[in-house]
Subunit: 426 residues, 2 copies
């Protein structure tokens, strides 16, 4: 079935700060699962079909832990406001359009094609509050071959009329229907609970979502401590909470029973960080968005040093590119500005660390994903880096570094495998 051998220059993450590079090796997929990397083909695999990618890079597929599908249409536009203004000026008006299923179909077809052709093999995706459009998004994502969690957004306060659900009860009813209609429907596409963020969800709504999470065993995604104005607003709205994360936690939406990913975590304090670590909450670091909507810079070094769960998010359209290569480059850059401008005790990130976050770190949200260790689901990218000529021969580690940091320019993605299936990149 899905069993084969790829030959090429294989790289993956070992520990968060260590790269594994294996020149001219054999990477074996057995029934969609990685059987390991070998210098020569072990006898038990010698009958498997081999695809020869000699001279090309073979990397694990990448996980995008946070992006908004309906915002793909305006990526790269409206980069002139900070978060809360930006939501009102750009994000909300665009998301309102997704009540029109024909518009949603055009937009989500463009989106799913872009993700299919990108380095992303796994994604955790916000839709809009529209149940039908979000179900359609799941169909388009399923057709793409990329594995994803997709959420119908909940908002029952502080939203424009066109994006405000009638009541917590109505929102919960619609969400339950969404869960019943989409759970188990697809092979590669799963629902996820998606309260937009605390300012747009009443306590009643959050409480109901916590109950649905437990009842239907559904994971959770949301935003956390992204922007000073947002954090202050949450403090006003929920004066009873010790911190922003405590609001989600109180309602069972903070890794309490189901796995949870929180985007940004730029302004998380000690207590919030402790709780995230205790609850095993995954952090989606979105470096391009940190800069674009002028949020600040997340203290990623601290999260890595504490051994917390962390990966990268493109945060389309807070970030303008869906490329996880771009996210890696941006993560390197903002970490260097963090060191210079905020705290010189926090060492900038290394190439190994951003590569870890894009592959194994983020992949962990999906299980054994993002590595070529035996037993990992087989997600792989084949990259022809000869499109980037060089006057001398480079070591494999240098080639990997160049691929990571020139990702935005890299036009050489020649093959992409998800769970052992090769996707059509055309």
């Amino acid at each position: 079935m899905n069993s084969f051998i790829l030959k090429g220059d294989v790289c993956c993450s070992g520990a968060p700060d260590a790269l594994v590079t294996r020149d001219n090796s054999y990477l074996i997929c057995e029934n969609g699962v990685c059987a390991g990397v070998f210098d020569a083909i072990p006898p038990r695999f010698r009958d498997l079909p081999l695809t020869d990618h000699t001279g090309k890079l073979i990397l694990p597929g990448m996980t995008d832990l946070h992006l908004h599908a309906p915002q793909y249409a305006f990526r790269g536009m409206g980069m002139d406001r900070e978060l809360l203004d930006w939501l009102n000026a750009y994000a909300f008006p665009e998301e309102s359009r997704y009540g029109d299923i024909a518009y949603a179909d055009r937009a989500y077809t463009i989106f799913a094609n872009a993700i299919r052709r990108s380095a992303t093999t796994r994604a955790v995706i916000f839709g809009t509050l529209h149940r039908e459009a979000t179900a359609l998004l799941m169909e388009r994502m399923e057709a793409s071959g990329v594995v994803s969690f997709v959420g119908k957004v909940n908002m029952d306060r502080n939203a424009p009329d066109s994006l405000c659900e009638a009541s917590a009860e109505a929102s919960l009813r619609d969400t339950e229907r969404f869960l019943r209609e989409t759970t188990g429907k697809f092979r590669n596409t799963y629902p996820i609970l998606t309260p937009r963020f605390v300012p747009s969800c009443t306590d009643e709504l959050l409480q109901g979502l916590g109950a649905l999470s437990e009842q239907y065993q559904v994971p959770v995604q949301s935003h956390l401590s992204e922007n000073p104005g947002e954090v202050a607003w949450v403090r006003e709205l929920c004066p009873w909470a010790a911190h922003y994360g405590a609001v989600y936690d109180r309602f069972g939406l903070f890794g309490n029973s189901q796995k949870t990913v929180m985007a940004h975590c730029v302004y998380s304090g000690e207590e919030e960080i402790d709780l995230m670590q205790r609850n095993g909450v995954t952090i989606a670091h979105c470096p391009a968005s940190n800069a674009n909507v002028a949020s600040g810079i997340a203290p990623v070094r601290r999260y890595l040093d504490r051994g917390m769960r962390i990966g990268l998010g493109s945060d389309i359209a807070g970030g303008q590119s869906e490329s996880l290569f771009t996210a890696m480059t941006e993560a390197l850059k903002v970490s260097r500005l963090y060191w210079r401008l905020i705290d010189s005790a926090q060492k900038p990130l290394s190439v190994a660390e951003v590569f870890y976050m894009a592959t194994k770190g983020g992949g962990a949200f999906f299980g054994k994903v993002g590595s070529f260790e035996p037993g990992y689901e087989f997600d792989a990218l084949v990259i022809d880096d000869s499109t980037l000529p060089h006057p001398r021969a480079l070591m494999l580690a240098e080639r990997l570094e160049r691929a990571v940091t020139l990702g935005g320019d890299l036009r050489g993605l020649v093959a992409k495998y998800v769970r052992g299936k090769r996707l059509d990149l055309s």
Copy 2:
């Protein structure tokens, strides 16, 4: 001769903060010079040949005010040090290779091809201290069709043996020979004096270069106030100088008689800024490099508000991409972090402002360059932005914004004209 009409959706800069957008217009080139943008073809031009780019963007060519040709080979590698360490660990060892003319030939051929295929139509380029290799670089740049200033670097102190000229006198002798051999040799390629920066040039060398600048009427490029460690070092080396820029100024290398471009200006104080403005020094803002080598963020808003001369630099390899589109995006992003992290009184840059810097602002170093106003030299880019699909029709200003901010992804450069000549992009 070089007279023709382009039809398409024309955009250029008016004032630094204003975009001019002209849907479905006629852009006329007369003998390599822009005759204007028209809604209909004026009768006097009706016999000129027309190329129909209907539906495509037509933008002014872009100027890269600061990049290092010998560093192109390691762009995207070694992004783990701040400036002074980075020079010693990566830049200097790579630049040492350019004593080998065969290596220089391979590397500069790759470099010149990359610039030819990029959005850059004008560039101000550092070579190495090797006279022969730098003359070869000029030949390669001339063949590219891009207009450029190219400098043989001077270094006579604080450099590794392989990159340290024997004496100020030897450096000056070699530089004078370089000027004599390259001045007037090319149509599009000119020499420029290039003291690397104050730490690597003795007073005697700088004094001699100032004299050469006046004698041969040659412009000047260098680095200024990029990094705190560098600025402190200059203070130690030249205790007599009121500020870093005052060193160049004392020796006639600061816009005193010839035009001068200074890269970075991240830590320039009031006095230095006043002197730059008085002397008409052009600032090359290099936002990617600001982050990559952890320099900090240049106060570009202040320079723009004072009406100073300013444009963008890719700063290859402090920046990893030669794309001026990438430089524009990075300039937007770091300006938003400047506002958030350094000074909230300094409004972030707008799309109009970064577009101005990439076109008309930087172009001014070359004369009437970077606009489609009548009398400007005809440098133009034709971009097929239909490679970026959208679910609804966009306004021209939205399309331009998207092209600017998605530049790293933009694969649609279909034609490029320099001084009215169409370049081969293959």
